[in-house]
Structure formats: structure tokens, C-alpha cells
Symmetry: C2
Subunit: 367 residues, 2 copies
């Protein structure tokens, strides 16, 4: 190594140490417990999607998945010129179809003129223990921020960093109406595979657009319509249920389970609309004849169950066909099944107007 390289390394190390020192000097970290958390149906101070006592009675795989923090966000207000975060992850699993940012990172939005606008992400490094500066050099007017948590990992601790001289706390007027919950029960697509970052799942796009509190019960590979889940869902005070639960279930299982599952929801909560969404058509199904046939039979079985329920007079069941849900160019997925941001924006554009109509129709029921 020549002298030039040694000088360069010494200079970079000095810079690094200076930076670490100055960050430590100027940033104060506040535990996320001090702020508002949304995307949860319970008030436990963790980032699990189902409360612990209920979870203990659920199937084993759900016990793990429900601890992934998909759809959970922390909302706070501050006049800080910078925002940083420290967070602790539970695992370092490998997903070929996810970015580490989506799997284990954080995603910051700011409320500007009443609309949520993307600010920046906190990119995770390899490993479990994370500390990242998210945004700097902002003006110091008071702003409301929403920080989305990882989609496919659990967060065991979260602290948010601000200028040491800044104020940070709960917003007076929240940019999400936490009194109005929508529960979305679904597969890995609902959990967020394969959004590029935590805020780009369709549940979060819908949430920002409607300013409502969406509880994401996307359970990757494990959406089996167990009655335990139906019971849990009806225990959540909600203004709408969305079921996007076809992908992980065989046509035979859909035939067997959909009818009792939806009937239970519909009977228990006749004043709450239930929106059923068909499975998107798998892109490889345009080439693989078996996949094509399988998805068709899945959606046919779903429709048949709903038709039966309509015939029996269950009126609060709404249905969104998969036709054109994600466009016609075959480019909305990463792997034929899981939606990218392109797919999530397109499916949100289809869900939003229908959902708004349903919510408007049912708002008089609730009031």
C-alpha cells in the first residue's frame, strides 16, 4: 500500500469518527412509545399485528408472521431539521423477491397540505442492529411525519432521532383517522411482496389516500381462512373488511372454506361491508397451462361461494373481479405473482374508487 492510500484511509477514518461523534452530539433519540402508532388493532406497546394473548391461540405459522410489522407506522410531529432512527430487527431471513429496504427498512412520509408525501427511507445494513440518518437540512417549521416499519421482519425496538434542541411529540390533529379501521386479510401480496419499500403496499397506498387506519393482516403463504382468524377479525371495530385471500389456497380448499368464513363475518357484522378481491391472474399462467387452470379454478370457487351467500341474502358482500386489476402489459409483478410498486399503484387505482363507493353507501348505516 503506498503512502497516498494510507493518507486517504487515515483521512476517511478521521472523517468517520468525527461524523459519529457529531451525530451523537447533535441528535437525541426518543422511544417510539412516546408517539402514536397506527396499523394495529390493539394498544400493546409492540409492533405485532395481532395482540399476544390472541396470537397464542392461533396456528404456529401465523404466530411468527403476525409479528412482522407490515402496515404498522409511527406518527409524530416535530420541528427538527433532521430525522434519524435506531431499530432492532428480529431476523436476517433471505427473500429473493424483496429489497432489504422493504423487508427490514423504514419509510418516512410527511403530511404536506393535507396529503402524505414520501420523504426518504432508512436503508438497513446487513445485521440486526440498525442506525440511520433519514433526512437532514429541513426547515424547522413543525411538520407531521409517518414512519412505516418493515414488511417482512419484526421490530423489537424503535427510537427516532431529532436535533437535540428540537421538539417532538404526538400530533394534535392526526393525519390518519384512527377511529376508522379497515381490516385487510390476505396473502404475501397483502403483506407487501414485492413493494420496493414499506409504504408502497396497496394497503398503505389506500391508507394514505383515504386517511384511514388500515390493519394489514397479510400473512405470507398462510392465508387459509381459519375460523380463528374470522373470529379475530370480527373482534376488531372496523368500517370495512377486505379479503384478498385466494392465492395460498387450492380451489378445493376455497370451495370448502370461503363459504363458512365469509358467512361468519357477514352474519356477525351485517352492517360492515366485506370487499372480496379475486386473485390477480399469475403472469406465468399465460405460458404454464397448469398455472392458468389453477388460478381460474381458484377464482371460480371464490365467486361460487359468494354467489351462494348473495342468494341466501347476505347483502354486505362486495366483489372485485381480477379483470384488469394490474393493467394489460404483463409488467406489474416481480415474478408473475407478487406485485411491484407498479402493480401496487395500479391495483390501488382499481380498489380506491370501488372502496370509496362502498364506504359512502355504508356510512349512513354506521351513523
Amino acid at each position: 500500500m503506498d503512502i497516498k492510500n494510507i493518507i486517504k484511509i487515515v483521512f476517511l477514518l478521521t472523517l468517520l469518527i468525527f461524523n459519529l461523534f457529531s451525530v451523537a452530539q447533535n441528535i437525541k433519540f426518543i422511544n417510539a412509545d412516546e408517539f402514536v402508532r397506527i396499523g394495529k388493532a390493539d394498544s400493546e406497546l409492540n409492533f405485532h399485528r395481532i395482540e399476544d394473548c390472541t396470537l397464542r391461540e392461533m396456528p404456529k405459522n401465523i404466530q411468527t408472521l403476525a409479528k412482522h410489522s407490515s402496515g404498522i407506522a409511527v406518527i409524530f410531529e416535530t420541528n427538527s431539521s433532521c430525522i434519524a432512527a435506531k431499530w432492532q430487527l428480529a431476523d436476517t431471513a433471505y427473500y429473493a423477491n424483496l429489497t432489504p429496504v422493504a423487508q427490514s427498512g423504514l419509510d418516512l412520509y410527511c403530511l404536506r397540505n393535507g396529503e402524505w408525501q414520501f420523504v426518504n427511507v432508512a436503508k438497513p445494513k446487513r445485521g440486526l442492529c440498525q442506525e440511520v440518518a433519514i433526512i437532514s437540512n429541513m426547515d424547522t417549521t413543525t411538520k407531521q411525519f409517518m414512519l412505516y416499519l418493515p414488511l417482512f421482519n419484526s421490530v423489537t425496538n424503535l427510537e427516532i432521532g431529532f436535533d437535540s434542541s428540537a421538539w417532538a411529540g404526538k400530533p394534535k390533529l392526526l393525519g390518519i383517522d384512527v377511529s376508522k379501521n379497515i381490516v385487510v386479510y390476505g396473502s404475501s401480496i397483502v403483506q407487501g411482496a414485492s413493494a420496493s419499500r414499506p409504504g408502497m403496499t396497496y394497503t398503505s397506498i389506500v391508507q394514505r389516500n383515504l386517511h384511514l387506519n388500515i390493519i394489514n393482516l397479510g400473512l405470507s403463504g398462510s392465508v387459509k381462512m381459519e375460523l380463528a382468524l374470522a373470529k379475530y377479525i370480527t373482534s376488531i371495530p372496523a368500517i370495512c373488511y377486505i379479503l384478498d385471500c385466494v392465492p395460498n389456497t387450492s380451489p378445493q380448499q376455497i370451495t370448502k372454506k370461503t363459504y363458512p368464513f365469509i358467512k361468519y363475518l357477514s352474519m356477525s357484522k351485517p352492517k360492515i361491508p366485506i370487499l372480496i378481491i379475486e386473485s390477480i391472474f399469475r403472469e406465468n399462467g399465460y405460458f404454464d397451462k397448469e398455472v392458468k387452470d389453477f388460478v381460474k379454478r381458484q377464482n371460480d370457487a371464490l365467486f361460487k361461494a359468494c354467489k351462494q351467500l348473495w342468494t341466501e341474502g347476505y347483502r354486505n358482500i362486495f366483489y372485485l373481479s381480477s379483470d384488469n386489476l394490474i393493467g394489460k402489459d404483463h409488467e406489474s409483478t416481480i415474478d408473475g405473482t407478487h406485485l411491484t410498486d407498479l402493480g401496487f399503484v395500479r391495483i390501488s387505482d382499481k380498489i380506491l374508487p370501488y372502496l370509496k363507493r362502498i364506504l359512502k353507501e355504508y356510512s349512513t348505516n354506521r351513523d
Copy 2:
């Protein structure tokens, strides 16, 4: 462990061994050298973007990056009912803003009624040595396929698998016109950060749309407009050059380097149009005042250099402003800078009509 679980495990292991055995029995692998490779300016039988003798004279960081296979694809025709791939990667680097599929995976398209349609991806596992079934159960009519290689990794060997009884070879009529090259020189965005899969970079979207051979010279973090690059670019027989090289260069460096770089290209090849693309506005620049100012000064410096060249009579220089290149909803990036599939589709929608107009105007020059 109870007897039920032991039986289950033995059954699954038997199934796995049987499957491995049956795949080995029914699939034949053919080295990619037997097919057509596109996205390369040279005819070397590797997956590097710059030929080895030229590369040896380039800056060190370019020597590594140019071996990443971004934009390179293999085209073949087959009547096989399935397609598989074995490929060997060079490294296991960590990128927080890339999926493993984009970084190290493969992406398969099929030519259907004259249009390239997505089929499926080959998802890489952890590690360097990969073997994946991409698609099965297809009808056995002869079809043309294009298999994109990894965006941020080097491939040292690639074999494509077919039914042992099927035919596979070079297509008679290629779905990409390899006699017409467009060279795109740019940063990590051009190289493909952060497309979800190899086929979703804007260079590949444009390539499929125009059926032309695009040489992707996206060099992540290393687009410094060195004269060595300008010389290399002019050595490639091309119908257009696209320069998207603002992001990695300071306003001062842009002022210093853009003028001689573009002048060299324009003087050397006055009949080849040069399309200059401004840097997209960084999303965090809406909050971080320093970023906002920096990007503005970058684009201002770029425009000033082009204006000077226009004034001096260089007429083959075209310019695409960053206004509305990626939409107005602030959702097109993973991290404020790198485009997701949503951003890449949007920027392609802006580039394509302008590029078509330029190519049409210059087609008479060439003929």
C-alpha cells in the same frame, strides 16, 4: 419428534430426491454460447459490457462495473415445454435497494405476436452457483425467448435447460434488430437500480419497445464523463447515444467535463443524434434544502454546457428536461433517487416518443 413427523420428513425427502433425479433425467442444458447474445457492443463470448482489451485501459472502478451483465440478454428459439437455467455468479455483494432477483437473477421474455411478453424470473438462492426451473407446462410450438442477465453481478457461466427431446437454437428472424445499436451511458439508475428484475430497467423497456439493440453503459456511482469513455462510445457503431450522466457528478465537475465530453461525441459522429437526459429531481430534495440546491445546480450546469454547444453549431444534440419525467406523486423511487419499476415505466413513457422522433429524423441521414 413423533412418528407422524418422522414419516412426513422421510416422505418429503423421498419426494425431493425423486424430483432432483427426474429433473436431471428430463432436462438437457445447452451453453449460452450456442445462442444469440444482445446488449453487447463486441462479440466476445462473455457477459461483460466492454471488451477486455479496452477495459484494461479504463479506470479501476469501471473495470469491475463493466463486467456486471446489465442489459445483456440471450435470445434463443425452442419448442421445449419447459425452460431452466444454471448460472454462476461472481459475488454476493449486499445492496439495500435491490432485490436479489434484480441483482443476480434472470428474467425471461417471450416474443408473442411481435411483442415481448414477460414469462417468469429465475430467483437466485444465497450463494454463487444457481440452478432454477423458470417455466413449465408450455405448449410445444416453437417460440422465441429472451433471457436477461443480472443487473449488479457478473455471470461467469450460463447454461439454459430444455426438455431432453426438444429443439433449441438461434432464431431465424430475431426479435431485436442487432444491426441497430443505441448506447446509453449513465449512472446506477441506467445500470438498473432499483428495477425489481433485470428486464425492468428503462433501457430494456425501450429496447423491447423499439426492438433495437441497447448497449447499457450504466456504471453505478462511476459516471464521470472520462474522455476514455467518450472514445469508447464513439467506437461503437450506433444509431443514437443517450447520456444520462448527471447523478454522480458535482455541478463543478459537470461544468468542467460535459462540454468536452459531448463535443467529442458530437464532432466525432455528427450524423449520430445524442440525447442528453437531465437528472431526475431527488425526492428527498423536497425536504432537504441542500439536495434541492445541488440537483438544480447539476442540471443548470448540464443545460449551460449544451446551450454553449448549440450556440457553436453542434446540431445533433437533443435534450430532455427532468420536468415530469417520473410523474408528480413522488412515488417513483425506492429511496428518492433510484427508480422502481413504476419510475422506469414512467420515464420510458417520456423517453420513447422523443427518441422515436429523433430516430425518425436521423434515419434519412444514415441511409
